[in-house]
Symmetry: C2
Subunit: 707 residues, 2 copies
Amino acid sequence: MDFSSFLTSLATSFIIFVVLVLVFTWLSRKHSNDVIYYPNRILKGLDAWEGGRRTRNPFAWIGEALRSTEEDIISMAGVDTAVYFVFLSSVSEDFYSYVVFVNGLWFYHWQLFFSCKLKTTTFVEFSHAKSPRLWAFLVATYWVSFVAYFILWKAYKHSSKLRASALAEPKLKPEQFSVLVRDIPSVPHGQTRKEQVDSYFKELHPETFYKSMVITDNRKVNKIWEELEGYRKKLARAEAVFEASKTIEKPDGTKPTTRTGCLGLLGRKVDTIDYCNEKIKELGMKLDAEQMITIKERQLDSALVFFNKKTAAASASQSIHAQNVDTWTVMEAPEPRQLIWSNLSIKFYERQIRKYVIYVIVFLAIVFYMIPITFISAFTTLDNLKKLLPFSKPIVEKDAVKTVLEAYLPQIALIVFLALLPMFLMFLSKTEGIVSESHAVRAASGKYFYFIVFNVFLGVTVGGTLFSSLKTIEKNPNQIVPMLGRNLPKNATFFLTYVALRFFVGYGLELSRLVPLIIYHLKKMFMCKTENEVREAWAPGDLGFATRVPNDMLIITIVLCYSVIAPMIIPFGVIYFGLGWLVLRNQALKVYVPSYESYGRMWPHMHTRILAALVLYQITMIGYFSVKEFYYTPFLLPLPILSLFFAYVCNKHFYLGFRFTPLEVACKSSKEIPNMESVFQAYIPPSLSMDKFEDADQFEDAQSQTS
Amino acid sequence: MDFSSFLTSLATSFIIFVVLVLVFTWLSRKHSNDVIYYPNRILKGLDAWEGGRRTRNPFAWIGEALRSTEEDIISMAGVDTAVYFVFLSSVSEDFYSYVVFVNGLWFYHWQLFFSCKLKTTTFVEFSHAKSPRLWAFLVATYWVSFVAYFILWKAYKHSSKLRASALAEPKLKPEQFSVLVRDIPSVPHGQTRKEQVDSYFKELHPETFYKSMVITDNRKVNKIWEELEGYRKKLARAEAVFEASKTIEKPDGTKPTTRTGCLGLLGRKVDTIDYCNEKIKELGMKLDAEQMITIKERQLDSALVFFNKKTAAASASQSIHAQNVDTWTVMEAPEPRQLIWSNLSIKFYERQIRKYVIYVIVFLAIVFYMIPITFISAFTTLDNLKKLLPFSKPIVEKDAVKTVLEAYLPQIALIVFLALLPMFLMFLSKTEGIVSESHAVRAASGKYFYFIVFNVFLGVTVGGTLFSSLKTIEKNPNQIVPMLGRNLPKNATFFLTYVALRFFVGYGLELSRLVPLIIYHLKKMFMCKTENEVREAWAPGDLGFATRVPNDMLIITIVLCYSVIAPMIIPFGVIYFGLGWLVLRNQALKVYVPSYESYGRMWPHMHTRILAALVLYQITMIGYFSVKEFYYTPFLLPLPILSLFFAYVCNKHFYLGFRFTPLEVACKSSKEIPNMESVFQAYIPPSLSMDKFEDADQFEDAQSQTS
């Protein structure tokens, strides 16, 4: 890719971004789009617009985002999101501190650049072999690393504080009073599962045990409940349609009809409202019966145990209960909304086996996915394209087409390619047997990170020249580090464009929300009949950390690894994270609704991966300098070791405070015993909820038993 | 080494053993030796001899050892010793099960052996290359592994049961009510350390916190106390001497005198009794003052915290207390007698650094110790000796000398060599900052195990031919496994003699206790004047697991690795562990007094190392078969993986139950609150003990504060 196509790419991206921002400014002022641009405020019962609609400056959102405090974020979007902003701001701060330092070193080079003497691919690369100035770059590598340590430490400390103060809040959080017990041994003769659990915990925690809830196999009852809900929706819809058909000409309206067969297309034609009412009644009775059966007979070997004190629950969740450690395993209970019920019944060793099997699958996926990516990056040079697809020659040789293709083809191929993956990884993570949504998100994010770094970063870097250098690796496996150092500079422009594309187009689309807007309007126009259906059509979803975080990590890896070789990438990095901070601040305050709260447990995960990127950077630097035959390259060797040591200290100092709830933190909030019944009720899944029955007491007895 | 020297070695060892047993039978019947042969019974206040002295069969000890139950062992020698016997009996059981199976396969070979057709070094080695009978040996390898899994699992289960029932005993154990807190942050302004600890724990454990004891720097007070004790002993001794000098001729006796200068050799001559009395008075006052200062001013950042419930202490010791995990670190308190006070003040990161530094030192010691061992095993062939020390030629060429030298020289060199090491390793382990004696023993034992396996087993096996094969390794590092397989058979006779030497001479000496007996009688005759001094002279010590366990592990490694190649070693293994069981059973019941009780925490340590030996065996087998160019060698590859999997399952199922006290176990014993003051008192070190003061209350207040 030459210099003009690089500029074209940048310019196009920037224009798209400007257009998207203008579109956002225009569309977000329309009242009918409020549910797309302000759903979080609406769901929280706030006014969509703080000021009046007319008086507002079109760019007011920027000011609002900048003025918003951490407390605003926590109250609007939770601690996880606040921690994510700690991450964004520290990374951009981090990169910003490099701009001054590293670009200062490049002064001479910039001069050349601005005097247009350098327009070839080398403009981003420092090519003075054995230059004495390499010393300065060695110092820069140290500077980059130490600033990273300093900022990471500060960020970890801050996240830890955020987590602790959120956990110590006096607001009732059911998960703080509960622990999850798995792998309960088989029921002794003459006892029910319930009695077994109750007597076990009552003996070990006589003062603090409140109640237990045995986990049941809800698949069957969930199915009936979903069917019932389906008919309820259908009924509401039919009634809405019926109301709408009552025009002045036809005051009685037409009753909607449906067919009873497959998908409502075949079978007998019936009156929808009557049919639904009948079905609802029938299913309601079936549900009642099924609920009874589920509660009594489908008990699994897991339970939720409730304590009347936070410290008791925190300390119980950290203690070994049984002598055979693979029975009565205890852990902190996740929030009710993020508990994955279907995974609770998986047995101890099955979980372990699943975990390792999935690690192997992910490993294979990472390794063998490299093959198609390598092909793509080898294909998507225009010369190759012309050679392999000769019929395309007349098209791609037109200047305009050529420039655009050269600028975008590789990146778009990559992005599309990667869009298919997250769902697969999320599925794998849930299959591991993880019990909480947030943990599954972290697991998927971790897998995605490895995938993306190995395949996109290393794949493109090494793979772009893989066909030529495959033989070198085969002959000499310890040539990987120097090869990395050799190949890195060649791909600098590719990654520069990649980063630019991500922040201009990516954040432009994020801000303008064009896709959800279009989907919403289409749905509203053609499908939604009831208020509930409309509400579902604009449900904003959450920030989607499972893909957002690893993508950010990829950018960090790229920017770090190129920071010394091609320092032009650092401002790009600053823009990526700075713009990201601004746009996502707006989205977090006004759009997204978090679907769970894990009190910042994402941070250690991100911290480790930033450090991994840093180590990768330090290793590629060693490779880069040794390729330059720089005599003092060994001076860089302490850096990766230092990074590992830093990781170790951070881990020892902070990590367990994220893994568990320290007693100190659990103890801080009010010491009164809360309304324990509401804690218990919070965990009853909707399909088993009895609140519609008047004689709920009889089930209460089967489901739980007050101590 | 040829066959005749092997037989000579065996015969000599056996004769030594018989002589030692006879000596034991003769000496142990004398009343004056009771304190050497029955000290444990005497210290426990039991009659040394259960039956009358005269009526006893000289071999009654064998019957007594065989009849003794596990409960006897636990009551006489503690759970740790009982677990050690579980280890001995399972290993001998394990090996016994091989005898039948593997030796059956060798039937043909034995025939040859007994018909005296095989008298060369190869008699122990199966040398039919590519024989179809190798199949049978592959099956034998599987058999050996699976029997080992089965027996190890049973033993782990049994040890776990022993541990649980010992922990659940109603007898008061102060350590079950205490936790050790380290890394307490600096004292906030206006509080004492004591108040800080008390208020912190009282807040987190309001119902169960009883009291705390701040750890002090006792070096100075210990020194004074030791000096004081020294003078007390001297006084007692002088009085005894004075009493003894009152003969009928000289009814007033002569007062013993001493010199006040260096070592009692220089300086003014004074009356010892008066001098000591004066010194004791002086030091007593100094001690009082120092105790006050220590308690008030030399407080460190550690404390012992006492709870009034076992479950509270167990659960507190497993919970993260502070948000910064490297402060307020909490662990189970060790027994008062095994608490290493001087290590308590070492800071968190210093401990980590010390640990890794010591790992590096041990690693270096293991690797570079190999060099002398290699030299020894290369030197100690007679041919080398003759070549290198030509003057020794006339001596070593005499037949008798030659045979003895050939038989013993290498083994004795090795044994002497290894005797120097344990103290060094124990010193290193204590330097790590470990707080309990039992943990330090385990750490030293682990280091010794690695040392002994790498240096004795691998060193002799590979090193015996190292000079010839060093070049092969250098050229081809992945040739290590086949080389092991190739070299193993060559050293079979060496290890056969080594094992025989260990059990005949080792256990013979163990049983006869010749060395302690001689030392005791010498001391009694020339040095001991008072009852206390005599008591110190016969103090039996404990079983010394730090060296005993790794030596047993070495034997297991040797026997396993040779079990298929040279199955004659298996009966030797059975004898080693069988005889060991018998002899040590006697010693545990009558001689040794355990110096600590860790409730079987040695078992997981031994279990892991037995498995490591098993994996080493499986790998050498792969090497051995592949050297034989046996086509189906890959069939052995699943075995090491299976072993790792077995280790993983055992670890998950049992390990944490040994690492911590499970709540279930802590909860089992009586629920009454014990005499907490005695728990507290148990932890006061003798140098700080105030019981001789009448106004102890005033110190009580400084040292602790009742909640």
